[in-house]
């Protein structure tokens, strides 16, 4: 029992070296891609975002061109992104809660015990993917929808003020939504609970506060994350009372950051 060999942890291990953050990032990327829910949510996001924009433009083009329309044509160019939000929220939630639901989080943290590194890698993979997918979806929807508008002679060129901002802004907004959902996921660690909270916050509470009377109602409406953040993803907002696109996005980013910090605190302090 005393004549044992002491093993050097660095011996004969394939490619032995220190664990780097890049390793955690690569692991999170493989993890993200290797489940079907990612594929399906991404497809759903694209179909809803690009498809519904095209569809609404196709069906409303004649009405918009008739001069009887009470909405600006530009408002419809990223219309489908309202629904694509659901995909981003699902992806963001699952990135965190599926680890808790299945117990994978224990394997993850046993392999990468520095939790800050895990969280940063997760956030980069999630936000990066959603920014890319969100922007591509918005561009596809714009191209598809605008083709129908062009046919009626009311097309909006990409050089029109706010179009490029809305396309890139769609990616930014979805990335932010995904991070918000992930942050809530870190706090509640439960898929259904996290999804309900974020979907309710963005789609239900965000609209209900409009019913509040006076300045109180006006400002709560402006500051709700879904309302503040989505302005940057629209060429012209349907609701003129909302904050300016970048001001709103700054408010939204601060809210996302606050939730993420709370999630990070919970993640690094609570038992896994």
């Amino acid at each position: 029992m005393t004549d044992t060999v002491v093993l050097d942890p660095y011996r004969n291990v394939p490619r032995a070296r220190r664990q780097l953050w890049a390793h955690a990032l690569r692991a999170e990327w493989i993890k993200f891609r290797s489940v079907r829910s990612t594929t399906w949510s991404t497809i759903a996001l694209f179909v809803l975002g690009a498809g519904l924009t095209t569809l609404v433009c196709a069906t409303s083009a004649a009405w918009l061109a008739s001069g009887r329309a009470d909405e600006s044509v530009a408002s419809f160019l990223t219309w489908g992104m309202m629904f694509a939000q659901v995909g981003a929220i699902v992806l963001g939630t699952l990135a965190v809660t599926s680890e808790y639901g299945t117990g994978t989080i224990r394997a993850t943290l046993a392999a990468t015990p520095r939790r800050g590194a895990v969280l940063a890698a997760k956030a980069v993979v999630l936000a990066g993917t959603l920014f890319g997918v969100g922007t591509v979806t918005a561009v596809a929807g714009y191209l598809g929808g605008n083709a129908f508008l062009d046919a009626e002679g009311i097309g909006v060129p990409v050089t029109h003020e706010g179009v490029l901002r809305a396309l890139v802004g769609s990616g930014l907004y979805l990335a932010g939504l995904g991070l918000l959902a992930a942050g809530v996921g870190l706090l509640v660690r439960h898929t259904a609970a996290a999804l309900s909270i974020v979907l309710a916050l963005v789609f239900v509470v965000g609209n209900m506060v409009m019913l509040l009377p006076g300045a109180w109602g006006e400002w709560t409406t402006k500051l709700m994350p879904g309302n503040a953040g989505s302005g940057v993803a629209q060429v012209e907002p349907f609701n003129p009372l909302l904050l300016d696109p970048w001001t709103g996005f700054a408010v939204f980013s601060a809210e996302v950051a606050a939730v993420l910090v709370a999630g990070w605190l919970a993640f690094t302090r609570r038992d896994a």
Binding site: L7, V13, A16, I30, E99
Partner: protein
């Protein structure tokens, strides 16, 4: 080497692990034994930094696991069966873990081969049986070829062939000089695998000794002797230098087999009604040991002392 010092974990005021001290040495299999809920898993989770100790500390190779520069190369762990996303393919699960520690992907195929899962590596883990899940967990533990291996209830759900395989694996890893820390709630399993035994009950260490010593202390075999002339028989055996204990109407004799005891009594012309070799099971010894820890706790509470 794993060293716990004054390690304590309380959940809502109740101590799951209560001021535990132990050292798990390299080069041998240390069996971590205790009934369900004794604090085994909590202790192992603290070793890996998944649970934060309420007080005290536990280190691996002289530092906290969280501070390990290359975690999977230092400690490989199987913590719970099937703590894997059911929709992920087995090979992808291992690829994720390998990537997180910069281990090249060829090592993934090596460990899959080692645990015999190569043929099902492309299947989603949700379709795995409990035993296949355990093998996948063991494959993950061996990814970094670690000098410290922690296995929580590794034989759960395995068939007899799988149990034998885990037993040999644990012994081989220890023979290579690694620290092997294996938990179980089955004494019979530990008896066949462990060189050293750490028994825990109600969050406290009840025994920390070599397996052989545990057997000698708690489960030594003896010869049961019944005779109408019990006192005379006892005198004869004691005169021969044997250990004799009176237990009810029987004598328990240590240090000689049944033939030897029979010959000795026969030479002195004494009658015998029973001569039986009794080998108490380790399971019984373990039950006695852990049940007394339960009684101890109940007694303390009854006396109004906060446990």
């Amino acid at each position: 080497m794993i060293v716990a010092h004054d390690l304590t974990k309380t959940f809502s005021g109740k101590a799951a692990v209560d001021r535990v001290d132990f050292t798990v040495e390299p080069g041998r299999v240390t069996g971590f034994l205790g009934p369900n809920g004794a604090g085994k898993s909590t202790t192992m989770r603290m070793v890996l930094g998944l649970d934060r100790p309420t007080s005290g500390s536990v280190t691996v190779n002289g530092h906290r696991y969280v501070d390990s520069p290359a975690p999977l190369r230092e400690v490989g762990a199987l913590l719970e069966a099937r703590a894997v996303h059911p929709g992920r393919r087995a090979r992808d699960h291992l690829r994720v873990l390998a990537a997180s520690n910069g281990i090249r992907v060829s090592r993934v195929d090596e460990v899959l081969e080692l645990v015999g899962l190569t043929a099902v590596a492309g299947q989603r883990v949700g379709r795995f049986s409990l035993g296949m899940g355990q093998r996948l967990g063991i494959a993950a533990a061996l990814l970094g070829d670690p000098p410290v291996v922690v296995l929580d209830e590794p034989v759960n759900g395995l068939d007899p062939e799988g149990i034998r395989w885990v037993r040999h694996l644990a012994r081989d890893l220890a023979r290579e000089g690694r620290t092997v820390f294996v938990s179980s709630h089955l004494m019979s399993e530990m008896a066949l695998t462990a060189d050293h035994l750490l028994v825990i009950g109600r969050g406290r260490v009840l025994a920390d000794c070599p397996m052989s010593q545990f057997v000698a202390d708690h489960a030594a075999s003896y010869v049961r002797v019944r005779s109408p002339r019990r006192a005379d028989v006892a005198d004869v055996l004691r005169a021969a230098g044997l250990d004799v204990i009176r237990h009810g109407d029987e004598l328990r004799v240590c240090g000689l087999d049944t033939a030897g005891v029979g010959d000795l009594v026969g030479r002195n012309g004494l009658p015998l009604h029973e001569l039986t070799l009794v080998s108490p099971s380790l399971e019984d010894a373990f039950m006695t040991l852990t049940s007394s820890s339960v009684e101890y706790a109940a007694h303390r509470q009854a006396a109004g002392v906060t446990p």
